[in-house]
Symmetry: C2
Subunit: 465 residues, 2 copies
């Protein structure tokens, strides 16, 4: 019996029926040659055979004196957590995405360990899929992708399956999660450093305020316009996913002297602009994206060193190349600013800037203040081909969270020579969101200079009807 | 924009994430001869073609000044409400029931009209299924079964489909639902009669209290023991369904000079006794079943004239025939009592007896008071064969509601020469509930006298893994 740490408690408190707080991942596999019609059922049976369930996968919530604790589930039911589903024939990708949309909209049962995995057979092209969801209070999106990755092999090995809930203990690292005591000690240490960092944070906030009025390249949270992406959300979701060539994006980055991330932002900006024009809802002011970035400075502490960059998406600029340049300048401005600060200063600074957003999520106190319009998150993934037993992983797509006021999330993960986009949206506030997949493709075409070889589009996935 | 009537509001208020307040129905169809692989997809497409959506299917909730109103959904999305799913091959009935268990556990989206229908292809034996769920605030279980029945034909007619949301207006009767004004007027009238009925109600309550101490055949709400069926529920469900021969039940009724309902109660009693023995959890005192019964007296008012019978299930009696006799006496006692009362008196009486239960549901004030242990509900259905287009309806099973303190519900509907049982339970508090299907069969065998021809068991459905 262990009290939940405060951050994990927040994810429980934020959860409402229209706002489930779980993250997910969709993995697409091709069946090995000669696989019989029972192959996927055998995968399910094998997965259900791993009855030695490791923390945190065996832990459920229990409230005592109004406080949430983790306790071991004494009637753990692996058949409940591991489901076997199928697509209607011929198993179009749009049917797969529709199914994931549906599954991702349903709340996890709080009486049980809060994760579920769905093995889905009958995907066209001799494939199957696994969609897994984890409550954010047991695992964040990055850890979820890591755990899913760890259950795969680097060689095709018939019959050699791993499952996330049965990984060696060092791989799912429950013990590295702070216990209340350790986290209290750690917090004291961190607090000390944070207090020391305060003068600098204060300076930066003041400078940010001045910059927001003077520097054209600086995007502060005060600049985000209202938009249709920033409304209350319903409980229904639309998931869309597609793979884009990482090599092509890298070539474009080189050509424009930009980073891969700049190109990705330009793709998203272009797709959002096209989508909002289609919906007749493009704000005059440019959209602001919030990018969570990992800090890897010399003095960085272990743990949650995530800073936020608020990048202008320059959606008011019609020319794609000029738009890319504006985005680059906006991101560079933040990078220069962060370079001059320590981790503690950065964390304090982003916490101060992010506070209105966090407060809004928790309390709804300032619903008219729009900190940013959309979260865009890019997590590096494996570059080598991975296997589940002898089934080849063809693609893996993050399925993230949307919130009241943040009705669209664009997440991506790299795998082999692809960048795998997973877009999740409130199905009601962001209608026909799946059109953005095509707009993302178009964005790459628009950036393609005539002197670069055009390798054509690639994409495993269509819309998520 | 129309305020919800108070009864419908109660179903919204009762709903929690572990306690969804929707009712459902599962229909099983056989494909017509020569149907191609696209048949079910065509059924889905045809259903999605009925875009003229009638009330209440086009109405969603909207809160104003803290009050819930019905408003027309101005971004109605038929693709959202009508889903196309499939079973993993070979499409075992246990996979179908597992899928329905999962779907029935998920909350409806309150931002949309609160109903969903799932067309499920790939059921073994050349069949498909349709599972439909309605929020109880738009439709009760009986109306749900009626609406599902109305969308079927009495002749196999290729291409001639109806859908519940596009029935002629008189069939779904939204206009007969009381508007606030009409219901206020009606309430005044009914209240007057209820006040007049009070002395008699008081007498009956007093007599019930005396009977509960003196008469061995009278089962009052004060007698229900605590049991494992009466715990807090989780958000996960187990659905089990099976058809039993109505002719066989009728023969047994005739043999024992009992009603069909008595035999059904004896089946349930026997199955519950076997199940609780298996779980090592049989209470010493007999379980009490609550049976909602329709009142059809001469002075009955239109509307919700549902009375409650609290029948002893005699689960403390080992002999099945003696158990049946005890159940019969318990039910007869209530029938005699109700015969001497007017509808208003019965309603007042059952309201008074049911109040602790209702209060517990709404407030949890007296959690230790167990009004009854299980709801058993039997609704007469069509006796002729029905068709959806040219697909034959092979079975239809009710999927009801479980509540905190009422973790199992047994509902049944008759169709042709079958009685179709649908059992829904909290998957956590009532483990391996699907074993009850076999125990129900065994119960029929146990009642079978040696001189009656034994026609053997029949059942389309197995357990709901």
């Amino acid at each position: 019996m262990r009290l939940l740490n405060p951050v994990d408690q927040i994810f429980l408190r934020l959860e409402r029926r229209n706002q489930p707080m779980h993250v997910g991942g969709l993995q697409l596999f091709s069946l090995p040659e000669g696989a019989g019609s029972e192959y996927v059922r055998e995968v399910v049976d094998a997965a259900r055979g791993f009855t030695d369930v490791q923390p945190p996968f065996n832990r459920r919530l229990k409230y005592r004196f109004g406080q949430p604790f983790w306790v071991d589930d004494d009637s753990f039911d692996l058949e409940y957590h591991v489901r076997h589903l199928a697509l209607p024939q011929p198993g179009a990708i749009r049917d797969l995405l529709a199914l994931v949309s549906m599954l991702h909209g349903a709340l996890l049962d709080r009486s049980r360990p809060m994760w579920e995995t769905y093995v889905i057979e009958g995907v066209t092209g001799n494939r199957f899929a696994i969609y897994t969801k984890f409550h954010h209070s047991i695992m964040d999106g990055v850890s979820a992708m890591r755990v899913l990755r760890k259950s795969l092999n680097e060689q095709a090995t018939p019959g050699s399956l791993c499952v996330p809930w049965n990984l060696p203990r060092e791989d799912n690292k429950p013990s590295s999660r702070p216990t209340p005591w350790r986290s209290a000690v750690k917090a004291l240490g961190a607090t000390g450093r944070q207090v020391a960092a305060m003068p600098r944070v204060g300076q930066e906030i003041l400078r940010a305020w001045q910059d927001s009025r003077e520097s054209p390249d600086f995007t502060s949270i005060s600049q985000a316009p209202g938009s249709m992406l920033n409304r209350r959300i319903s409980g229904s979701r639309r998931f869309a996913a597609q793979s884009y060539s990482l090599n092509r994006i890298k070539r474009l980055a080189k050509h424009y002297e930009a980073t891969v991330n700049d190109i990705v932002l330009a793709m998203c900006a272009s797709a959002l602009r096209d989508y909002l024009i289609e919906q007749d809802a493009l704000p005059d002011a440019p959209l602001v994206a919030m990018l969570p970035v990992s800090l890897h400075t010399a003095d960085s502490d272990a743990g949650n060193n995530i800073a936020m960059i608020f990048a202008s998406l320059a959606t008011d600029v019609a020319d794609p190349i000029e738009r890319l340049a504006t985005i680059q300048r906006s991101v560079d401005h933040w990078k220069r600013r962060y370079k001059a600060m320590t981790s503690e200063q950065i964390l304090g600074f982003t916490a101060a800037l992010g506070t209105p957003m966090g407060m809004n999520l928790l309390t709804g106190i300032a619903p008219k203040h729009q900190s940013f319009n959309v979260v865009i998150s890019n997590v590096p993934g494996p570059s080598e081909t991975l296997y589940y037993g002898d089934a080849t992983l063809e693609g893996m797509y993050p399925v993230s969270i949307v919130l009241d006021g943040q009705a669209l999330n664009i997440s991506m993960v790299s795998y082999r020579d692809s960048l795998e986009f997973g877009l999740i949206a409130c199905r009601r506030s962001v209608p026909s969101m799946q059109h953005m997949l095509q707009f993302l493709s178009d964005a790459l075409d628009d950036l393609e200079p005539t002197d670069l070889a055009h390798t054509g589009r690639d994409g495993v996935a269509a819309d998520g009807g």
